[in-house]
Amino acid sequence: MRIGDRSLRLTWLLVVVVVVGSLVGSELAERPPLTNADRVHDLAGDFACPVCQGQSLGESDVPIARTIRTTIRTMVDRGRTDAEIRSMLVARFGENIDYTPRGDGLVGLVWVLPVLVGGTAMAGVVLSIRRWQGRSTGGSAPGRPVVLGIVAVVVVLAGVLVARSAGERLAGDTLSGDIRSSTRTLLADAGVASPDEAISLYSRVLEIQPSNVEALAYRGWSRWRAGDEAHGRSDLDEAVAVDPTYPDVRVFRASQRHADGDHAGAAEDLVALDGLMAPPIVGDLLEASRLRQRIATGLAASGDLLVALELLDSGLGARPDAADLLAERGWLLVATRSPELVGRGLVNLDEALALDPLDPYGLAYRAVVLATVADRPGDAAVDLARFAGLTGQPADLVDLLVVVGLLEPQPEDGS
């Protein structure tokens, strides 16, 4: 063995050792710590600015880009992973904000095709070299299709592998961690779902956040209406216990208590509600269902007129121009048949109709009072006429008028 050979071999050995050592060393050696700002910079470069022509989020200085960078910075500071941030951005702005194409589906082709074409071309070059080297074509012809087949399979697999690893995504439909957003979405969706679905959605919310009053209240209400009265009741009570200032549950529990016959408890809840700031949906629900009036009627029927009046007054305190409440108040007073109270009741009815001349309850009640107790059939007829002219007359009022004799009984026509 000549000296030249050995020194050559040694040199190459040294080269290999140094190369491998440098690569390993560069990976393992201590790097200057990557700050959050660096991470934000890297991330911003991987996403497009939604409004600019062709600039990345990092390059662009338009307001929306700066805002999104701030959001990324906040998420990075909170410890979110790159995949979570990517999901958030894609969910907000669409798939085309992401500069890295997905690895699956039609889009995944962009990863697969170059590997495919490159691998095939490489195989072609190798085959050409072998052919041009003068090897007999006869010898390799039987083997050639097999080789090509193997190459094709390998290349396709490699392409798919590249696509998978490069275009990896988190299933990014819900943001975990930010409790308010995730429960909020579930709650809103439950609001428009079918009753069974709604109950399961609320239960999911309660798994994430066991003390969520909204979920408790609405689940209680849904359960109660679905017939699961015991659980419904307990949910509602728990909701009130957790947060006495939550308005919605008061309406639900009042309705539930009223159905159970506990008018005093129901009145309590409504009075408590009047002291809170409720969203419009609550007020709408109360008005439409006439819950307060029914509770008041129930109270009066069981002898607690004072409490009933308190209940109605409490409602009037929150809504001074509630003609329907005034009308009910007047009716309850009139129903006592005590002359002084009847007089005051009539005043209430007049006030109610002054506020809303077309309130059906006011018209009907006053017509009855005028016709029976006050003995002013003429005025009663006026009110009756107006009542008859209304579209959509409440059935209970029609029954009342028929019973009193002011209206002819109508044939059952299903209206």
Binding site: P50, V51, P63, I64, R66, T67, I68, T70, T71, A91, R92, F93, G94, R180, S181, R184, T185, A188, D189, G191, V192, M277, P279, P280, I281, V282, G283, D284
Partner: protein, 182 residues
């Protein structure tokens, strides 16, 4: 020189030509104007809108459940926003009595004092959020002003309008959305 009938050059050339012809076809059928109407928010739950109004009171979209809400993104430096403002004022006035739809403006990338001055001069009594609105804009995916969203009483986004709105348009949108829900 070649086996009879096999002309690999011709085959390759024609294959390449075919691919290029397809590419030209794709290029020829692309439109150049960028379509920015990302409608992925419509039908989804409306993202949070929380803030402090011009007079200091807190405002939260979730407190408006039961009412339709129009969320309007705005800036005093944007000409179409200025042009649509009287329409919004008229719309708000028309629906004030019935209170069936509420309006909120989110001022985006603007100085609070400019917004205050603008509303003082041009009218508009509805809640206006000015502070920390960047987060809201990102959550809603707003890329430019003006943009308006119609939110259902249950808290979902019913419609999105890019560009300035007119009162008629809003009324029409509202009517259709109400009809669709009920």
């Amino acid at each position: 020189m070649n086996p009879a009938g096999v002309n690999p050059v011709r085959r390759t050339a024609l294959a390449v030509g075919l691919v290029l012809a397809l590419l030209i076809l794709v290029f020829a059928t692309r439109e150049t104007s960028r379509d920015r109407m990302t409608t992925h928010l419509v039908g989804a739950v409306a993202p949070a809108v929380v803030g402090v109004t011009l007079d200091g009171s807190p405002w939260d979209l979730d407190d408006q459940r039961g009412r339709w809400v129009i969320v309007n993104f705005f800036s005093t430096t944007c000409v179409p926003c200025i042009r649509e403002h009287p329409e919004l004022v008229a719309f708000a006035a028309a629906h004030a009595q019935a209170d069936d739809v509420r309006l909120v403006t989110v001022a985006f990338d603007d100085s609070p004092s400019a917004v205050v001055a603008f509303f003082a001069e041009h009218g508009g009594e509805w809640p206006v959020l000015t502070v920390d609105t960047g987060r809201i804009a990102v959550d809603w995916g707003v890329v430019g002003v003006p943009e308006s969203y119609l939110v259902t009483p249950s808290g979902h986004v019913a419609a999105k309008v890019i560009g300035g709105v007119e009162m008629e348009e809003l009324d029409d949108l509202l009517a259709r959305a109400v009809a669709a829900v009920s």
